[in-house]
């Protein structure tokens, strides 16, 4: 058995799932990578809004991260690429350590798996249609060959090194049977001490927020998973757990490990509107349903905030329904999920607007500062 075969078996036993958001079985990906002689890209981009855990791994556990990458890439001809946004502290640290850095432009979708592969291949940092998984290669829409590449989140690669060192049993001693292992979470937004926390599946979300200084009682919601995630009402943030099962009850997911507390002074409808306008501008402009659909959702949202109505909400809902599974990547899916959850959690506040009241001091949201 080769080293990577044994490695995949250990990862299987540990039950390690990707920490980048998709939570796909790492062992399965590693086996597929071995079969295709895939290259390795370690994704340390922290692409989601409010994300910080990838940079934290690079800052505090770089040697373990590199060891994990070495284990995963055993036998690969090319060097491992460490992806980070150009000009970021993470990129600086990686570069200073003498590692090969894949510098991604400061675009939201540029840190997506196939966007990084495209960039590494000399193309633009935009997602590609995945007729077959990127780890097995395939061809892009113009028929050019895609180099088989294993793209793993930085935290995932760090966990690989830890599991190789301490064993599957150690990993499984954390979390739950279905979501084993220690996990990182980035808590940001309106909290006293934002930062990255070590946690595990099953803990009350309340405890994570408390560890960062606590959620202000006036905060209208907690955003789980950034722009591709979903909102929790204050009540839900107080009673739900940090787990797939618990978060699924409100249409949310653990995702890339980002918790953002909204500030109590800005109308959440404006926060959502700002983020939707940002999302519309971040489309890679390759797929119709995204490049036209996202600006349409943003416009529709602005309309319904300005002139609230049941019909207006339905119009937003209808547009949101046309987003999932109609692009080369999951960006429009995420924005759709985000918008649907905004309607759910802020529907009551929208009705207040209909009556002419809002109550929030600031009707003008401060760009991304309002949300981490």
């Amino acid at each position: 058995m080769t080293r990577t075969d044994t490695l995949a078996d250990v990862l299987d036993a540990a039950g390690l799932a990707g920490r980048g958001g998709a939570a796909f079985s790492t062992a399965t990906k590693v086996r597929a990578a071995r079969a295709s002689h895939a290259e390795l890209i370690v994704n340390a981009c922290d692409g989601e809004i409010g994300a910080a855990k990838d940079g934290w791994v690079v800052e505090h556990h770089l040697s373990e991260l590199v060891h994990g990458a070495t284990l995963l890439a055993a036998g690969r001809r090319r060097g491992v690429l460490f992806a980070a946004h150009r000009g970021s502290r993470t990129a600086q640290l990686l570069s200073a350590a003498g590692l090969d850095v894949l510098e991604a432009p400061p675009r939201y979708v540029s840190s997506e798996e196939s966007a990084l592969v495209s960039l590494a291949g000399g193309g633009l940092a935009r997602p590609m249609t995945k007729r077959v998984p990127v780890v097995t290669g395939g061809r892009d829409s113009r028929g050019a060959r895609i180099r088989p590449t294993l793209v793993l989140n930085a935290e995932t690669v760090w966990r690989v090194a830890q599991i190789a060192e301490r064993g599957a049993a150690w990993f499984r001693s954390y979390g739950t049977p279905t979501e084993p292992g220690p996990r990182l979470v980035s808590v940001s937004g309106y909290v006293a001490t934002p930062g990255v926390l070590e946690t595990q599946a099953g803990v009350p979300i309340r405890s994570l927020l408390d560890a960062a200084g606590g959620r202000h009682p006036g905060a209208p919601a907690v955003l789980v998973g950034g722009l591709g995630g979903a909102f929790l009402s204050p009540d839900e943030a107080g009673r739900l757990q940090w787990s797939r099962e618990s978060l699924a009850t409100v249409g949310a997911a653990v995702g890339p490990g980002v918790l953002t507390v909204l500030d109590p002074w800005t109308c959440p409808l404006d926060v959502v509107g700002q983020l939707l306008r940002y999302a519309a501008g971040e489309s890679a402009g390759q797929c119709g349903p995204c490049m036209f659909g996202l600006p349409a959702v943003a416009r529709e949202w602005d309309d319904v905030v300005l002139r609230p109505s049941r019909a207006g909400e339905d119009r937003v809902r209808r547009r949101v329904e046309l987003l999932p599974d109609r692009g080369a990547c999951r960006f429009p899916d995420g924005v759709g999920r985000f918008t649907a959850s905004a309607l759910r959690v802020f529907g009551a506040h929208l009705s207040l607007h209909a009556g002419g009241a809002c109550g929030y001091p600031s009707r003008r949201s401060e760009s991304r500062a309002a949300v981490g």
Binding site: R131, S141, Q286, C287, G288, R326
Partner: protein, 72 residues
């Protein structure tokens, strides 16, 4: 043989390469029951399991070569 084995010969799924698709609308015109178009002319695949013969015609006629068959 268990009943579930039969599903392995089920018709393949018609997929759209969204990067290649430029809203010609030929697919919806050929497969009106399975594909409809949004307001900008991009396909919404309502019923992805399509008779393979019909699917291959649509694949061949798409000017952008944006249709393909996948297993699931």
């Amino acid at each position: 043989m268990p009943p579930s084995a039969d599903r392995s010969v089920a018709s393949p799924v018609l997929r759209v390469d969204r990067v290649a698709c430029t809203a010609h609308g030929v697919c919806a015109s050929l497969l009106p029951g399975s594909i409809r178009l949004d307001e900008w002319g991009y396909p919404i695949v309502v019923a992805p399991r399509i008779d393979e013969e019909v699917a291959r015609t649509a694949i061949r006629l798409c000017p952008a070569r944006a249709l393909y068959l996948a297993q699931r």
